[in-house]
Amino acid sequence: MSGAVVDPRLSPARAAPKKGLSLSWSDPRFRNIVWQVVILGAVAAVVWYLVQNTSRNLAARRIATGFAFLGRTAGIPIGESLIGYDPAINTYGRALLIGLLNTLKVAVVGVVLATVWGTVLGVARLSKNWLISRLAAVYVEVIRDVPLLLQLLFWYLVLQGLPAPRNSFHPVAGVFLSNRGIKIPVVEWEGPFWWALAAFVVGIIGTVAWSRTATRLQETTGVRPKVWPVAIGFLVGFPLLVWGALGAPFAVEMPALRGFNFTGGATVTPEYAALTLGLVVYTASYIAEIVRSGILAVPTGQWEAGGAIGLRPGTVLRKIVLPQALRVIIPPMTSQYLNLTKNSSLAVAIGYQDVVSIASTTLNQTGQAIEGIAAIMVVYLVISLSISFLMNWYNARIALVER
């Protein structure tokens, strides 16, 4: 493969007399084409060999290929699902869909909580109080250097070690911590809540519109009208008004101990809680470092300069410091979000039924190894690509326009 890469800046100068592709070994372009054909051919040959082996093996084991098994009745018992599921009726396809939703449930909640907790830690790491900053540093160091799987097993052990329902911890009214999971009260969802939600969405639109108007007024008159009272009115007042006008229904379903178990309320299973807790604790230690370096990347002079031109601290933060800090923070944060999502696949070790867990049960039951793994890969590739697409779009939006 000698002379494979010709520096593009040099090639026009070197290939002075422009002529067509000569079929000579001394023409680098010809050599490159030959080498590429050889390499691609070798890869194709390996792939072809593997496909041949696979089809022979599949034939020997009488495994039919294809995704027809998705339509068959699954018979996998699933502990928790966001949508209805009955192992006797529902298909493998639906079981996998539930697995996907369970993965997303962990990933979305995990990303939000890890961001919050990681930011708190990152700020704590920069605290002027020595004790706080040391504690945060020790946390980051210890959590990072212990495998996530070990931590997940530990958290699961802790949550399973909670007392039985009858002796459960009862920190505040309506919350029970037991080895069956965490019981929390739920608000009974009724029609007016939908309307209040709709009102909230309208409120968001109204707030954005008013903020734009305020900017326009500021540009013409130099005085910016207050935005926050209007925003509160739109976002809190309006939904409350709608909800009140429709009779203000409010009923909380409290969990209560009946015999050996709880009735009512919602349950956070130990598996879900352990997985989310482990992922948040682990990922936050990485996010903390990202946030810290992001904050340190903005020199103090920026705050001072912002103050010197007469901006309020909040405005300095929003208009001057954050845009610069986020530019440093967003790219590594994206990869942490991706890592958290991929790490959620460790669920299989503690018995939470995410997409990997259900797919592996499926492929054990049906023998459809290739299809099962292809399904997992497609799911994660789609999730990864969507997160990076979203974050790249956001990053492009907030990137400072440089001259």
Partner: protein, 399 residues
């Protein structure tokens, strides 16, 4: 905001009493750095504590609350882990008698479990009489890391040392030569497996990663570049578990009939492919960080592509990527614990199996703590090393 304001005024106030007169022509930065240090004097600790622990009522309250919490937790932990702990239990004919541990349950730790099972946790199901061999293997690995960390050994001979050490490790683990009893791979386990999977993973993934990184930066061969991009992005887009599952259920389908490599080798292949993609990105970072002038100078000398790469580009680029390489290695070291899911006896699974013993079933916390300490020890040393190196490189780069 208030922070920066107070800092500024403090600096100004100090400037007024500064005993060292400012000298014209010397930049302000080093003086400011001097100033930022806690005030020295007879009561330095007191002044330090006032500045860093009790600088305001809020800070004081937080400090006191934290000290209280830490003290309470530390005393409780000390009670559990040392004072009330059971360090050993009597051995009876039916096995260890864990009644002392049962009595101390919830009050004190049961370290006797570790004492009873440590050989299993460290070496898994390896033939009991031959366990000195994996013990030497662990020592060899640690020695190998230590030598690779030393600057003095950063030259071509290091490659030779690695080949010799890895061969010796293979011989010791398998045996079958020089009077050593043959031990099949199925019965390997514990810490050597963790070290083997991560180190062999790195050793084999690294050359692959260099080739892929070069391929990905190739401008003249778009087809090769596409192939490399496809490989890297595909592997990095899916979790390691997927690859391990693939190795355990799909790999046998890919192979010709009758050829069925054992589980450990399959997992090792999966880890190499996984590591290759991540390392390729690390190496690519190093290739990109190299100034363009280096490439141009090599071209100006009329070097061929491989001479340019081997003599000019790689020696500099690989030096740059050593700190991120160590960080990636720490990641693999932790990630090897995932092989537990496909049933390979690494450190974590050996530990988990050790406590399936009915006598010790209730003492997982102690086990997890010990395993965490082992993993932590390896990772912490490596991460300190990489950080030190990074700082040193930054200093040299600035000079």
């Amino acid at each position: 905001m208030s922070h920066s304001t107070t800092r500024t005024t403090a600096a100004l106030g100090e400037a007024a009493h500064d005993p060292v007169p400012a000298i014209a022509g010397i930049p302000a930065a080093p003086i400011a750095a001097e100033r930022a240090r806690p005030a020295a004097g007879r009561f330095a600790p007191v002044a330090w504590a006032r500045a860093n622990l009790f600088s305001g009522w809020l800070s004081t309250a937080v400090t006191l609350a934290l000290i209280y919490l830490i003290a309470r937790w530390a005393i409780g932990f000390f009670d559990w882990a040392v004072l009330h702990a059971v360090w050993s239990v009597p051995q009876t004919e039916a096995g260890p008698d864990a009644s002392a541990c049962r009595d101390a349950k919830g009050v004190g730790a049961c370290w006797a479990m570790i004492g009873d099972k440590y050989r299993f946790i460290l070496f898994g199901r390896y033939t009991y009489e031959e366990q000195w061999r994996p013990a030497i293997v662990i020592a060899l690995f640690i020695g190998l890391y230590a030598i690779s960390a030393m600057r003095r050994f950063w030259r071509k001979e290091l490659l030779l040392i690695w080949i010799v050490a890895l061969t010796a490790i293979g011989v010791l683990m398998w045996g079958g030569v020089a009077g050593l009893e043959f031990v099949p791979q199925d019965s390997w386990g514990g810490l050597p497996i963790t070290l083997i999977l991560s180190t062999f993973g790195l050793a084999f993934a690294f050359p692959l990663a260099v080739l892929v990184a070069l391929g990905r930066r190739s401008t003249a061969m778009p087809a090769v570049r596409m192939l490399c991009v496809l490989y890297v992005e595909l592997i990095r887009g899916v979790p390691l578990i997927t690859l391990l599952f693939m190795a355990s259920v799909m790999f046998p389908l890919f192979m010709p009939e009758g050829f069925n490599p054992d589980k450990l080798l399959r997992a090792q292949v999966a880890i190499i492919l996984f590591a290759g993609a991540y390392l390729a990105e690390v190496v690519r970072g190093g290739l990109q960080a190299l100034p363009k002038g280096q490439y141009e100078a090599a071209d100006a000398l009329g070097l061929s592509y491989w001479k340019k790469t081997g003599l000019i580009v790689l020696p500099q680029a690989l030096r740059l990527v050593i700190p991120p390489l160590v960080n990636t290695f720490i990641g693999f070291f932790k990630d090897t614990s995932l092989v537990l899911i496909i049933g390979i006896f690494d450190l974590l699974l050996a530990g988990k199996v050790a406590i399936t013993d009915p006598v010790w079933q209730a003492y997982s916390t102690e086990l997890y703590l010990v395993l965490a300490v082992i993993y932590f020890a390896f990772c912490y040393v490596m991460s300190r090393y990489s950080r030190g190196l990074e700082q040193e490189f930054r200093r040299t780069a600035r000079r």
